[in-house]
């Protein structure tokens, strides 16, 4: 039970990151590796607000969302928008995202060194004991906030005019353009939302796993693996795959080896790709 609960909390954060990646990939058609950088920037923003300014943890979380969101908007306006108009957008977008990721990480390292920092949170020292499950408040909080954010994103997509426009773009880009939805505006909103949520993820992880320039890499790769497993389209599939991965890692870390736990996601991916080369939840497309 203990292990399962830990796994679910971890899986919820994976699901949050995967949802951001999926949203951005669906709208921009770029696998946004630089999201890992924005998770990290969120972590740092949270750290400085909480540690240096001494403000409350929740203000730090908001600051993390704002900082990452701003970086996301700048990335779209300064980089991604231009790469989408090159002759091979798939390849350019891919390399451009890598460029952004490394540039963010290096800039942060040059500014603040590669030291590990601990984002202070009042919830990290509190340990909950509920029906034999022991867990820090921070871990529980992280899981719950992640799930709430995912739910909020879906509520936005279902219930509002802007969300509906975004869903329309996800489902049929041409159709969306035809009814007058601006692709550029939609892309900007998707980047803003996805990046803000990634920033929150960074601030949630900060107290548990420390803040350092490459802190976003591992979680980014897991988020990517999760959406690949889900066939790059299905958000429900991505969320279930994320929770599964979290649980698998948690069990692996307790019963097999802690050091190798980052490798389990890859094994997951290998098996899935061998069974279904084009993802677990994909449909065939007509070739004319």
């Amino acid at each position: 039970m203990q292990v399962l609960a830990n796994g679910l909390a971890l899986g919820a954060i994976y699901a949050l990151v995967a949802s951001c990646l999926l949203l951005i990939f669906g709208i921009l058609e770029i696998p946004d590796f630089a999201l890992g950088g924005r998770i990290m920037v969120g972590g740092y923003a949270g750290y400085f607000v909480a540690e240096n300014l001494g403000l409350h943890y929740w203000i730090a979380v908001v600051a993390a969302a704002l900082a990452a969101g701003l970086l996301g908007v700048v990335s779209e306006l300064a980089v991604y928008r231009w790469l989408r108009n090159t002759p091979r957008p798939l390849l350019s977008g891919f390399i451009g995202a890598l460029v952004l990721l490394t540039a963010t990480e290096i800039t942060v390292q040059l500014l603040f060194t590669a030291d590990f920092r601990k984002l202070p949170s009042p919830y990290e020292s509190q340990i909950l004991d509920f029906a034999g499950i022991r867990m820090t408040e921070q871990r529980l909080l992280a899981g719950v906030v992640a799930l709430v954010l995912i739910a909020a994103l879906h509520a936005y997509l279902r219930g509002t005019r802007g969300g509906r426009a975004m869903r329309a773009t996800l489902e049929d880009r041409r159709g969306a353009e035809i009814v007058g939805i601006s692709p550029a505006k939609t892309a900007l909103i998707a980047m803003l939302l996805g990046s803000c949520m990634a920033g929150v993820a960074g601030a949630l992880l900060g107290p548990m796993y420390l803040v350092y320039p490459t802190m976003g890499d591992a979680i980014l790769i897991k988020g990517l693996i999760v959406i690949v497993l889900a066939g790059m389209r299905s958000s429900l599939g991505a969320i279930s795959a994320a929770l599964l991965l979290g649980i698998a890692e948690s069990f692996g870390a307790s019963y097999l080896s802690v050091g190798f736990s980052d490798a389990y996601a890859f094994i997951f991916l290998i098996i899935a790709l061998m069974v279904r080369p084009n993802g677990l939840f994909t449909k065939s497309v007509l070739v004319r």
Partner: protein, 241 residues
């Protein structure tokens, strides 16, 4: 109303349209005929702002619209119902229709009233309001596509192959609906492969071949033109030989 003068368009190195000119008057129904690959779809997409043009001019109600975004063109009342429908398959019929009015920022109640109005034209869709558009039959999907275009309150409605893949009875229904829409004062630009059905509906037409207008005239003139009969009304000619 719509004035297309001498436009050129293409993709990459290849040119698809060379010096195409045509016009549509207020309230008029006009067709563009042509074989697959003649450039019909490129023409209609250029007008709707989905494909950039390389030369020439497109004016709508006197103002230049080429170079404007598709969204702005829709707001001016020039709306496209695309080939292949491009519906949002995992959204309900109602949501699809709502999105049709996206470019007009109006209140929910006004949208609901407008949806009711559109559903009057397509009574068959009334009971399918909450069904996913992707699960409808081809004919129903075409109705939703036309309905979605109507939600944008067009003054000129461009239809790209609305009969595509439909059974004959449904083709007749679609054409009848298009006729009704025209009678409400909405101008129609109809791109069709089914020349016989199209010519029955419109007052004038253009024939596109290899990216240029080769014949134009009234519907009667086109129906009796030997070249059109041979190429697009095909068999009649053969059977009569």
């Amino acid at each position: 109303m719509l004035e297309v003068s001498d436009i050129t368009a293409g993709y990459g190195n290849s040119t698809v349209l060379t010096g195409v000119s045509l016009s549509i008057e207020r309230g008029e129904a006009v067709t563009v005929l042509g074989a697959n690959g003649a450039g019909k779809s490129t023409l209609i997409q250029a007008i709707a702002g989905l494909t950039p043009i390389r030369g020439g001019e497109i004016r709508f109600e006197g103002e230049r619209i080429h170079g404007l975004s598709a969204a702005r063109i829709v707001r001016r009342g020039l709306v496209l119902c695309p080939e292949g429908r491009h519906l949002f398959p995992q959204m309900s019929v109602r949501e699809n229709l709502m999105l049709g009015a996206y470019s007009h920022k109006i209140r929910r109640s006004a949208i609901a009233a407008q949806i009711d109005e559109v559903l009057e034209i397509f009574p068959a869709l009334k009971e399918k309001r909450t069904v996913y558009a992707g699960s409808l039959s081809g004919g129903e999907q075409q109705m939703v596509a036309i309905g979605r275009a109507l939600m944008a309150k067009p003054r000129l409605l461009l239809l790209d192959e609305p009969s595509l893949g439909l059974a004959p009875l449904l083709v007749q229904t679609v054409m009848r609906v298009v006729g009704e829409i025209n009678q409400r004062g909405i101008a129609i630009g109809l791109v069709e492969q089914n020349a016989a059905a199209a010519l029955e509906l419109v007052s004038r037409g253009y024939v596109l071949e290899a990216g240029s207008v080769v014949i134009q005239g009234s519907a009667q003139e086109l129906s009796s033109d030997d070249r059109v009969r041979a190429a697009y009304l095909g068999v009649v000619e053969q059977a009569a030989d």
